[in-house]
Structures are given as C-alpha cells and as structure tokens.
C-alpha cells in the first residue's frame, strides 16, 4: 500500500483520467488539477507528497511555475515533470531548479512507478533520519543537563577540597583550630 498523495496537473483530460486510474490502482491517493491555476489553489490547502505536472499548459502557469509554487510551500514536495521530447532542455533546467525528475511523453508507467517508489523510499529514509535526530536531540539534552550539573558540583567540591587543604596546612593556627575550621567547612 502506497500512502503518498499525488497531485496530477494536466490540461489534457485523457491523460488526466489515465494517470488518475493507474495511480489509484497502484494504491496512491490522487488529486487532480485541470491546469496550473487550479494546482496553485490546491497546493497550499492539503498535504501533497508528489506533484506530477505537465510542462506545457495553457495560461501563464506552466509546469515550471507549478514547480516554483510547490517548492515555495515546502521543499519536501517532490515534482515530476511530464514533457514532450522537444522540451527536454527545459526539463533539465527544471531539475536544476529542484524538480525530482522528468518523464517523456508518451508516459511509460513502469518508469513512472519506479520514480515514485524511489521518492517514497527517499521520504521514508528522510523521516527515519529526522526521527533519529530528534531522538538524539532528546537524549543529548537530558544527558547534558546531568553532565552539566555534575560538572558544576564537581568544581564546587574541588574548590572546597582546596580550601580544606589550605586550612589543614595553615601553620599559623593550632592543630585543634585547624580541625575545628575543617569540620566547620565540611558541615557548612
């Protein structure tokens, strides 16, 4: 069972329907946007793991703009672009801007599912790493409190020992006085 939520953005209703069916069958949660404008509205409103967007769409919000919008909302949203062969240069440019990958039309579903699995694995590794680092932070903060208290207590004891030694070595006063003063220090 895949629990990633994928937003499909494509102005072609046939491709949209096909992607929706195949992805749902594979167990993904699928959301649909008919163009970049709709995607822009949907992206901030719900949790989305992956955006699968056409590069060329009508209007001023194409795939590259959808990529920017998604990355601005969260760098953790991964974006896969769907491109025609002729626009591969743009797709490569998009990769530099943070797109996870691009797929050429016609869509090869085996390839798409491989990419999605790769993203899911990556996200699960990221989550584990984050959990581990949070566990480490907790351990560290508890340990540091204990260690710092011991460090200060130890420094205090050390300074008392030094004073004690000075008292016991003080030849200006009698042995009894030294013992009295030493006991005073220890019971203070």
């Amino acid at each position: 069972m895949n629990n990633m939520t994928i937003l499909v953005v494509d102005d072609d209703p046939v491709i949209r329907k096909m992607l929706e069916k195949r992805l749902e069958k594979a167990g993904y949660e699928v959301l649909i946007a008919e163009d970049g404008y709709q995607a822009r509205k949907m992206l901030p409103q719900q949790h989305i793991d992956v955006v699968l967007t056409d590069l060329m769409m009508p209007g001023s919000i194409g795939g590259l703009e959808v990529l920017d919008i998604a990355k601005n909302i969260s760098p953790n949203i991964e974006v896969i672009l769907i491109t025609a062969h002729s626009s591969i240069d743009t797709a490569v440019e998009a990769m530099k801007k943070g797109a996870a990958d691009y797929l050429e039309k016609p869509i090869n579903f085996d390839e798409l599912f491989l990419r999605l699995e790769k993203i899911a694995n990556m996200q699960s590794i990221m989550r584990n790493a984050l959990d581990l680092s949070q566990a480490m932070d907790t351990t560290e903060s508890v340990a540091s409190e204990t260690i710092q208290n011991l460090e200060i207590m130890n420094a205090g004891l050390q300074s008392r020992l030094n004073t004690l030694e000075a008292i016991l070595r003080d030849e200006q006063i009698s042995t009894y006085e030294r013992i009295d003063k030493a006991i005073d220090l220890l019971t203070a």
Binding site: K96, Q148, I152
Partner: protein, 279 residues
Amino acid sequence: MLKITPEELKLVAQYIHDISGIFLDQSKSYLFETRLGTIATEHGCNTYKELYQKAKTDPSKSIERKIIDAISTNETLFFRDKGPFELLQHKLLPELIDARTPSSTALKTNLKIWSAASSTGQELYSIAIIIKELLPNIANYSVKLLGTDISDGAVAQASRGKYNKFEMERGLPSDKLQRYFTMFGDSWTIKDDIRAMVQFKKLNLMMPFVGLGKFDIIFCRNVAIYFTLPDRQKLFNKIADSLADDGFLIIGSTESLTGICPRFVPKRHLRSIFYQKTS
C-alpha cells in the same frame, strides 16, 4: 562489502589514530567496513591491508585524505543546540566587548573566535550571523573568525558555504534563512557579507597549533569525544595555551573536562556552561 579481518582492524585503527587522532572502537568492524569499503574498492584493493599500504606509501596523500573524510563525522547543524549561541549572544560577546573596547575611538575592538572542529561550517556561520546581528557598527571592530577541521572535504564545503535542503532542514529559523542565504533549486548559499567574515583551513588537532595566536572564544564541541583520554588531555592543554586569560571555552553540551584539564573551571549561565582559565 569488503570484510575486515581482526589483524587488519588493529592495523587500520592504529593508522587512523596516527593520521587523525580519532580513536575507533575495534569491536565495531562494521564502522570500518561501511566507511572504508568503497575507498578500498575504488583503489582496486582486495584487502584493507592493501589499502593501508597504498595509503601509507602514496606520496600525494590523496588516499589518506579520503580516509579522513570518510572517518570524520560531519553531523552538524546551524545553531545546533541553542544554548551555546544564546550564551554567545547574551553573555560572552557583551562581556568581551566591554573588556576589549579601547579608550580611544580611533582604535578598533579586536575579537578572535575559533571553531576548532568546524566540520562543514555551520557552527562558524552561525557565530558570524550572531555577531552581524549584535554589532550594527561592525566596521569599528576587527573580527577574526577561524574554522578548522581535519577533513579536506569538510573544509572545502565550509568554504563554499553551500548547503542542500537536508542540511538546512533543522536548526535555522526561516527569517535567518531568508536574510543570510540565497536559494537556488534545492540548495542554499551563504551570502557574501557573512562569507567574508570567516576563514576556513585544515588543521589536525593532534598537531601543534602553529601561528594561530590567542583567541577570545574557542568552540571545541563534540570532537574530543572521538579521542582517547590522554589525547583529550593534550588537546585541552593546548587549547588553554591558545585562549586569552579572560577568554571563554565552549565544549559540547554532553562533554566534561573533569579529570581532563584542571586549567579550566566551569561556569554556569542560565542553562549553559562555559569554561574559563583558572587564575
């Protein structure tokens, strides 16, 4: 993954200690295998002994550098563990500035800070950001921020000041991120004004500290934990020599100098501890 034999473990552990001071637990053979296995294969070695011999006799020292890069831990964050940075901002820097400000306004106030195991630079850049925010009239100061690390790879990345989203994920408040970094794609680069405040270079903490001079504040966090007790004692003794008499030392929040260096005394400020030299 290439397996390491018990004899090789001894040999390689000793070698790593010699070149870096890092003490690796020989019972953790996986540590050696996961970190050195690829380097061995890359250099066509069928055993770790072969890798050791190649590394030792390589005049360019490039294998040695790769081994150090692989062995040294680069877990670091911007503002990792808030305590030391709050300490710096609210106590150490104000106190130092009071003590260091010359009576003549024609003179600049000197401040020298050293991040002794700077890894990929996040600690020193965090310090630079704090100083920039604390001193609006920074031109009146002569601020020297030095970061050193044993790993060439870490020093190179620190110098570039470029970080991927995973490295940026924790620790950095978004207002600081926007103000001090330029984003391109998935990576962030520190802006030039902060970059210009710092300098990074390679240094093995086991070697003598030549030409570094005295510092007002030294950060030496979470590096001595990889050294043996005698090596830690030597290290903090040298650090005491490199610290101004009224200077401050900050170590990792779970580290202790008890039984390591009697020349330092711990002091508490709020929830943090710093060290000063005993008078």
